[in-house]
Amino acid sequence: MSVDASATRETSGPPRTRPPLFAWFFQTLLVLALVALIAWLVSNTLAHLRERGIRAGFDFLTQPAGFEIGESWLSYESSQPFWSAFLAGLANTVRVALPGIVLATLLGTVIGLGRLSRNFLLRSISTGCVELLRNVPLLVQLLMWYFALTELLPASNDAVHVAPGIFLSKSGLSFPWWEAGGFDWPMAGELNVIGGASVTPEFLAVWMGLSTYTAAFVAETVRAGIQSVSAGQLHAAMSMGLTPRQALRYIVMPQALRVIVPSITNQYLNLTKNSSLAVAVGYPDLVSVANTALNQTGRAFECIAVIMSVYLVLSLLTSVLMNRYNARVALRGAG
C-alpha cells in the first residue's frame, strides 16, 4: 500500500482513500492474529511449566504469607494471606510516593524559580542543586541518604530526645500519635524506642532521595515553562502597574502551567515508578514484598505480573488525574 500511496501523491490530486471494508478486514485479521499469538504463548508456557513439574497460577494468593513486613499502614501479620501482604506493600509504595510528589513539587518550584532569580547567589545555588541532583544516579543517592542516616544517628538504645515525646535514633524518628482516645507517647525501651508512631530510616531515605531527585527535574520543567511565556507578556503586565509578584501570579503562571503540567505529570509517574528502587535500602514497598513472595512460592511469572499491573494502574491513575487538571488549566489559558 505504501507503494500505491506514494504513486498517487506524485500524480497530484487528493490521495486515494482505502475502502473502509477493506481496512476493517485487515485490522480484524491483525487483531485475531495477535490474540491467537498471545493465547498460544500462554498455553505453551503453561504446558511446559506443567511438564517440568512447576506449579503455576494465582491460587497461592489466598495461602498464608508466612513472613512479616517491617512497617505498614495496614495492620498486617504473617498469618494473613499473600494478597494482603501485596496490599500492605502497595500501601507502602503509595505512602512514600504521595509525600514524595508533594515535596518534589514544592522543592522543584522553589529551585526552578531560583534558577530565574536576578540574585546571583540564589541562581548559582539553584543551578548547582539541579546539576548535582539530576546527574547522580538515583540508586546511588538513595544509598547515600540511607548510609548517612544509619551511620550518623545515635544507636537505637541511646536515642536522642529531640523535643518532648520526639526521639531520633538509628531506628528512625518516633513521635506521639493519637490512639484510642489519647496520645500514645514514645519511650526509651531496653533495645530501642517503643510506643508512639515512627518513621524508619528506610522510609526517610527513600522519601528524601526520591523527592530531591525528582525536584531537580521539576525545577527544570518549571523554569522552561516560565521562559516559554514571551517576555512581552511580562513587560505588558508591568507597564499596566502590576508588581512582579502579581505579574507572575496572574499573567505568567497561568500560561506557563499549560507547558508545565503535561511534563510534570511525567515526573510524577517517574517518581512513583522509581519508588521500586526502595528495595535496595530495605523499605518494604510493593516490589520488595513481591520479591519475597516470589522467593517463598517460586511463582515468578505471577509475582512479576502483579508488580507490572499494579504499576500500570498506578501510573494510569496518576495520568488521568493530571490530565483532568491539565484540561482545566489549558481551557482557562485558551479562554
Binding site: H48, E51, R55, Q296
Partner: protein, 344 residues
C-alpha cells in the same frame, strides 16, 4: 499490500522466535550436554564464606564449590572444568529452572515447597545447619526470646525470613524485620547499628562475625530457632543426572567412612584388599557404568576435593575462618547425622 505482508511476515517471524524461546531446555540429557560443552555450570552464591566465595584471584572456595569440583572430576575427569555462576537468592531458582545452571549448590535449604512445586529434586544434605541470631554483646541478650520489639536485619527470599516470623509468632513476641534484597546490604546495615540483631543460618553468622565484624568478640550467637538442611539440587526430568550428583556426594561421605583421603587414595587403590574400598575405587566392580560414568569416577572425585571430612575441615571446620565444630555434620558412626547409602 506490501506493508501488510511485511507486517504478517514479521508476525510469523516473531511467533517462530517465541516458539524457539518457549521450547524446553533439552530435558533428560543433562550429562550429554555437559560432556559436549566440556564443563559443568554450577550455580553458587555471590559470596558466602565457607560455602562458595571467590578470592581475590577469582578462585572459588567453599563446601559447595568443592562439591562441584568433585562432580566435575567424576563426570569430566577434570576438577577445573567447573563454570561457577554466582546467583543471588532471588535468581537462584529461575536459573536452575531455565537450564542456565546444571545444578544449584548454593547453601539452599531443603523444604517441601521447593522440592515439590518448583520442578526440582534435592539430591542430599551436605550441611546440617540451623538459623540463629547475631547480637552485639553489649545488649546483654542471652536468648532469642529476649528480642522483644527488636529490629532484626534479614535478607529477603530466604527461609530465614519465614522462620523469623514463625518463631516469634509462636513465642507471641513482636519484632520488626528490616528486609534487604542483598546479603551485603543486609549485614552492612546491621554492623552500622540499624538493627539490634541479624539473622541467617549459623554457618553464615559465623562467617560474618569472623570476617566482617571489626571485632568478632563484640558479638554473640544466642540460640537456634530452626533446622536448615542445606544441599545441592537439580532440575526434575533427568533421573540420570540426579543420580550422578547424589552418588558423587555419597562417594565423598563413604570415602571418609572408609578412611580414603585425597593423599592416600592412589596408594589404597593399588594395595587395598578391603572389598568396600575396592568397589568405591573401581578396582573390583564397575559401579560407574550404572551411573553413565567410567570406573574411576569416585577415585577422581576424592582426589579432586578430598573426602567429606576433609572438605568440611578445609572450609568450615575449626581451622577455617568459620571455626565451626563438626557437631551434627559428623559421620553417623561418630554421633553425627552424615550418612550415605552403601556403594554396592
Amino acid at each position: 499490500m506490501t506493508r501488510i505482508s511485511i507486517r504478517l511476515a514479521a508476525l510469523i517471524g516473531a511467533a517462530g522466535l517465541a516458539a524457539t524461546l518457549a521450547a524446553p531446555a533439552h530435558a533428560g540429557k543433562t550429562l550429554d550436554t555437559i560432556k559436549q560443552r566440556g564443563n559443568i555450570n554450577c550455580g553458587v552464591s555471590t559470596g558466602v564464606a565457607g560455602f562458595s566465595a571467590p578470592d581475590s584471584q577469582g578462585q572459588w572456595s567453599g563446601l559447595d564449590a568443592d562439591t562441584c569440583r568433585a562432580l566435575a572430576a567424576a563426570v569430566l575427569g577434570d576438577a577445573k572444568k567447573v563454570n561457577f555462576v554466582p546467583l543471588n537468592a532471588q535468581q537462584r531458582f529461575a536459573a536452575l529452572q531455565s537450564g542456565e545452571v546444571d545444578l544449584l549448590a548454593r547453601n539452599t535449604t531443603w523444604t517441601l515447597t521447593r522440592d515439590a512445586s518448583l520442578g526440582f529434586h534435592f539430591t542430599t544434605v551436605t550441611y546440617y545447619d540451623g538459623q540463629g541470631f547475631l547480637v552485639p554483646k553489649k545488649l546483654k541478650v542471652t536468648s532469642a526470646k529476649q528480642l522483644k520489639n527488636a529490629e532484626i536485619c534479614v535478607q529477603s527470599g530466604t527461609t530465614n525470613e519465614k522462620n523469623l516470623a514463625d518463631y516469634f509468632r509462636a513465642q507471641n513476641v513482636k519484632i520488626k524485620p528490616v528486609v534487604f534484597e542483598g546479603f551485603e546490604a543486609s549485614f552492612k546495615a546491621f554492623f552500622a547499628g540499624r538493627c539490634q540483631a541479624y539473622t541467617t543460618d549459623v554457618s553464615g553468622l559465623a562467617g560474618l562475625r569472623n570476617k566482617e565484624a571489626k571485632n568478632p568478640d563484640d558479638y554473640m550467637i544466642p540460640d537456634l530457632i530452626s533446622k536448615e538442611p542445606l544441599g545441592p539440587l537439580v532440575r526434575r526430568g533427568d533421573d540420570e543426572w540426579f543420580a550422578d550428583v547424589k552418588w558423587v556426594i555419597f562417594a565423598l561421605i563413604e570415602a571418609e567412612e572408609n578412611g580414603l583421603t585425597q593423599a592416600n587414595v592412589d596408594e589404597q587403590k593399588a594395595n587395598s584388599k578391603d572389598p568396600v574400598v575396592q568397589r568405591i575405587l573401581g578396582t573390583s566392580e564397575d559401579t560407574g557404568k550404572l551411573l553413565g560414568l567410567d570406573k574411576e569416577w569416585a577415585l577422581r572425585a576424592i582426589k579432586a576435593s578430598g573426602n567429606y571430612g576433609e572438605i568440611f575441615e578445609r572450609n568450615v571446620g575449626p581451622k577455617s575462618v568459620l571455626k565451626l565444630p563438626r557437631g551434627a555434620n559428623n559421620l553417623w558412626s561418630k554421633g553425627g547425622l552424615v550418612y550415605a547409602p552403601p556403594i554396592r
